[in-house]
């Protein structure tokens, strides 16, 4: 059932273990993401999918197993975090734009501070990534002046400006109403079409089915079922059958 991570994967997890106190959140999780692939992590709340995603960018330290991301050994204590995070972009459920900076400053901050880009170059870059998410006119707005959907698109643009090799999306539409969700999903679809490697935790089953090359269904800290998007319509395990059958599959 579980796929062996191959060496040329962008992201690979092998037998990853993680506990919070006595609670075992990840219990031998393995999966891999190839270049240009879109992987959707699905499962009930508490199944460990968000924790698995956060382990990839080392927002959580693992207790055991191996994680390799763009050649970085993330499970090792001596991993170069700043190098890892230049290769990995992450977008959060709560957008987390910096409220004291304009959208342009939000975007140019890291390219200037981390990559040493000149201010004028960074500004050109900001315009480019904002055009990608359809927000060119919001260059000089502050985050509070934007709708939730616009804030999330700006957060995606901010990540894109670092030109990551893989993007992580952690329930990025969970705080949005259906209309705003649609505008954010459209941006992610475009990224997928452009060949961006992505790992996303999502509750949007219809979206996962439409965009994901592969689905990983997590259940009680384990990868319970994995396969192409078609497993959502013809699941083989009773747990996934129940999960997609309980109204999670939006058409």
């Amino acid at each position: 059932m579980q796929q062996n991570p191959s060496s040329d994967s962008i992201v690979s997890l092998r037998d990853v273990q993680k506990s919070f106190g006595s609670l075992r959140v990840l219990d031998g999780v393995s999966f891999a993401v190839e270049r240009g692939e879109v992987l959707a992590l699905i499962g009930r709340s508490g199944s460990g999918k968000s924790t698995a995603l956060r382990c990839i960018d080392r927002f959580e330290k693992v207790d055991g197993g191996e994680i390799v991301v763009c050649g970085h050994r993330v499970d090792r204590p001596d991993v170069d975090l700043r190098a890892l995070r230049q290769d990995v972009g992450i977008v959060f459920q709560s957008y987390n734009l910096f409220p004291h900076l304009t959208i342009e400053q939000n975007i140019t901050l890291a390219p200037c501070a981390v990559k040493g880009l000149a201010n004028s170059q960074a500004k050109d870059l900001a315009r480019k990534v904002l055009a990608q998410v359809g927000l060119e006119e919001k260059l000089h707005a502050y985050p509070e002046q934007l709708s939730g959907g616009q804030q999330q698109r700006a957060a995606i643009a901010r990540s894109l400006a670092m030109q990551p090799k893989v993007m992580l999306f952690d329930e990025v539409t969970s705080a949005l109403d259906p209309e705003l969700t649609a505008e954010v999903l459209k941006v992610i679809e475009q990224l997928a079409a452009d060949g961006m490697t992505m790992v996303m935790v999502t509750h949007e089953m219809g979206f996962a089915k439409g965009i994901a090359d592969r689905i990983v269904f997590m259940h009680r800290g384990k990868v319970h079922e994995t396969g192409p998007a078609s497993i959502l319509t013809s699941p083989t395990t009773p747990e996934l059958t129940q999960f997609v059958g309980t109204g999670n599959l939006k058409s």
Binding site: F59, V88, F92, S94, N96, L97, F98, L109, A175
Partner: protein, 222 residues
């Protein structure tokens, strides 16, 4: 001896009031600089630094300022270090203010929502860059009202420096009273002068707090 309150007495009190302001400024600047270091030390990734700074804060907060002033003046003299009243009072108040401002500012830094740290980390910013460009600008906005409020405490607490012979407002009042024996009138004047120095600060603090309340929404997204 005796006589009536005249312009010279008032001039003397005015001079004392200037020293009260001077000592407050010294305490605020010295305490602000040391307090900033304390605030950063309290959230240091190094456990030993966190513990050392916490012990410092607990020691100072658990000791009356009067005792700290006595230790600074007579204590140092006892071990052979002769310090002027101004230096003793300035140093003691600096240590005292640093402990309180350090704690206030630590709280403000930590009240910047954790996802802000994570977003900055996810963009590969170094710890210093995260602090300077993302966290501190937000923390300063949160910290301004309580800091201005604490300045009122500093101004009033400088009156204790009179015990080490530093002639600020309180001490100059005592001196004037020693020649006039009109304690009620003189201490009433002193109370009014302290109030005149503190009330504008209180008003300013309240106004900042109200403005903060209005701008709350742009502090942190959900």
């Amino acid at each position: 001896m005796g006589g009536h309150l005249n312009i010279n007495h008032l001039m003397f009190l005015g001079q004392g009031a200037l020293w009260t302001i001077g000592l407050s400024v010294i305490a605020l600047i010295g305490g602000g600089i040391v307090g900033f270091v304390i605030a950063l030390a309290r959230i240091s990734p190094l456990k030993s630094v966190r513990i050392a700074s916490a012990v410092y804060v607990q020691l100072i907060q658990g000791t009356p300022l009067l005792v700290i002033l006595f230790l600074g003046y007579f204590g140092l003299a006892a071990i052979g270090l002769k310090v002027s009243p101004l230096a003793a009072a300035g140093a003691s108040l600096t240590l005292y203010v640093a402990a309180y401002l350090g704690e206030i500012w630590r709280g403000c830094i930590q009240s910047v929502p954790k996802p802000q740290w994570e977003a900055a980390e996810g963009l590969a910013l170094s710890r210093t860059q995260r602090m300077l460009k993302v966290i501190l600008p937000q923390a300063i906005r949160i910290a301004t009202p309580p800091t201005v409020g604490f300045m009122v405490q500093i101004v009033k607490n400088t009156s204790l420096a009179s015990v080490v012979g530093f002639v600020e407002l309180m001490r100059s009042g005592q001196i004037v009273n020693n020649s006039l024996f009109e304690p009620f009138a003189i201490y009433a004047i002193i109370a009014v002068i302290y109030f005149a120095m503190c009330y504008p600060l209180s008003l300013f603090s309240q106004r900042l707090e109200r403005r903060m309340g209005r701008g709350r929404s742009n502090l942190a997204p959900a």
